[in-house]
Structure formats: structure tokens, C-alpha cells
Amino acid sequence: MNKPFAPSAPVDMARERAAGIRDIMPVMIAAAPIGLLFGALCAGKGLSPAEAGLMSVLVFAGGAQFAALELWTWPVPIATLAFSTLLINARHILMGASLAPKMRGFSLGQKLAGFYVLTDESWALAERRAKDRPLTPAYWFAVAGLLPLSWVGATIAGAVLGSFLGDPARIGADFAFTALFIGLIAGFWNGRVSAAAIGASAAASAATYFAFGPPWHVAAGALTGIAAAYVAAPAGEDAPEAA
């Protein structure tokens, strides 16, 4: 599958764009019901459709947004929400560092604008494409730039509909967060090391919640889980990775 790169040949922009649209379409369809759920839960927490939509436009990071909503209380704990967002989105740093060198045809401005819409899904699709052909701005802006339409549209629709639903606990929707997070956690599963991180984080978080209450359980659980992964991982594999 290793086609030789031909940097001098003109890139067919329309085909690049079409490939990006084809790759992201299933993700856009899958994101819509999740966005509806996010919007409905926003309404349950007392956020207006405008606030819910604004968060999806400006933050555009599902995991961090759901976590923020779970931690949302009135008055709004801004520092807690910011810290949780930083921890959950820190993975973007490694994703960007891996993808940026593969974006040879991009100007710095195109990289800075393009990474505004960096997500797990668009990153995975772009990394896969970069394995056998050069990554083009036409492909990236299609594959990464269209997903917000689905996410933001569904968020606003969910927030409008959710305000008619009433108490989310009545239909078990308050548990949707927990179920969603368990599903997301399964996506990060990689065996023994993640088992150690998850077990340690759960125990430390629940214990801290009992002893001190929110919001300290998030930091306590996260840091304990990260430490457990460090200890559980095999030592001695410290040779630098090939780029």
C-alpha cells in the first residue's frame, strides 16, 4: 500500500475534499445522538440552549464537556471545570505533536486554524491517511471541519427539546453520563496498565468524595490513577521512540 509520494504532482483538491467527507460522515451521524444527549443534559442542569450551543462551538470536546456538566453546580466552579478540562484534553498535546510533522503542505496559519477542530476521531482518520499519502489541507478541513456542524446542531436541538423533558432522573437520564463515560473508558482500554489506572482512580475518587466531598474527588482520583499506571507499566523501555 506504500504508494510513492509525488509532491510535485498537483493534488486533486476536489477528490481530497470528497475523501474527507466520506471518512467523517459516519462519525457525524454517530455524534448527533450524543450531541442531543449533551444538550438535553445541559437543559437538565439549567443551562440555556444558547449556553449549551456556545459551549459546543467554543470548547468542541465531548469528553471534557460531559465531565464539566457532571461537575456543574451553582455557583459555577470555574477553577474545577478548567482543571478537569485541562486533564481530559491534555492528550491533544501528544496527538498534535504526532500529526503536525505530517502536515507538510500546511502554512502555520492553516495548522493553527485546523487544530481548532482537532478531535480524537479526525486525528485518527488523518493519522491513518497520512500512512500512505500526504495529508492535504483540503482533506483535513473536510474531515475535521465538518464534525462541529453535527455536534453543535445536535447540542442546540437537544437543549431545546430537553427543556420540555423535565426531571432527567425520572427516565434514568441522569445515569446517561455514567453509562457514556463507561463506554468512553472502554475505548481507552489497553489491558493491565489501564486496569490499574481505572481501579486506583475509582477507589481514590470514591474515598475522597466520602471524606471531603466534591470537587476534590476528581483530582485525587485522576492523580492516583496516573501514578498507578506509571507503577504498573513495565520499566526499562526508555529508548526513545522512532518518529
Binding site: G63, L71, I88, A197, P214
Partner: protein, 100 residues
């Protein structure tokens, strides 16, 4: 179309932090080669945070929630995300009915 100023501040803080994590990699290329235990610890950040957020609901609310979380975890190993959520919500509703 109401936007509360404190809510706006929280959203802006989250947005700025998220954007900085997204672009940081551009400037760290070649200087960020995590390996071994450091990489394992970094890779564990998202699941560790997600678990820490839900642990009080899953483990410290009542037995219906704890049991429903276990059912959901089993579902998550073989079902797509939306089906996993459906199984979780349905099981918590049923178990809460049993618990009264």
C-alpha cells in the same frame, strides 16, 4: 437567548485551555518523545479522569447505580457507544424500581 456571565466565563476558560492543548503539539514537535512509564502514565490520563468523575455516582450512591455501572461495563466491551448508554439507562431504571 440568555447567557449568564459566570457560565460564559467558565465556557471561555474551558475553550482557551482546550485550544492551547490542541495547538501545543505544533510547537513541541521533536521535543516530546515520551516513552516507557512516562508514556503509560500520560496515556492513562483520559480514562483516569473519566473514572474519577463518575466514581461517586457509580460507587457511592446506592446498589442499583453500582450494579447498573457493572452491567454497563460489560455492555461496553461488546456494544457500540449508543447501545452501551441505552443498556446503562435501562438497567438503572429497572434496578431503581426493584429497590423501590
Amino acid at each position: 437567548m440568555t447567557i449568564d456571565p459566570t457560565t460564559l466565563a467558565a465556557i471561555l476558560a474551558m475553550a482557551v485551555i482546550t485550544y492551547l492543548t490542541r495547538i501545543a503539539g505544533i510547537f513541541l514537535v521533536g521535543r516530546l518523545a515520551l516513552s516507557g512509564r512516562a508514556k503509560a502514565a500520560f496515556d492513562a490520563i483520559p480514562p483516569a479522569v473519566l473514572v474519577a468523575v463518575i466514581a461517586p455516582t457509580a460507587l457511592a450512591t446506592g446498589w442499583p447505580e453500582t450494579l447498573a455501572a457493572l452491567v454497563t461495563a460489560v455492555a461496553a466491551t461488546r456494544l457500540p457507544l449508543l447501545a452501551t448508554i441505552a443498556v446503562g439507562v435501562a438497567s438503572v431504571v429497572l434496578l431503581r424500581m426493584v429497590a423501590g
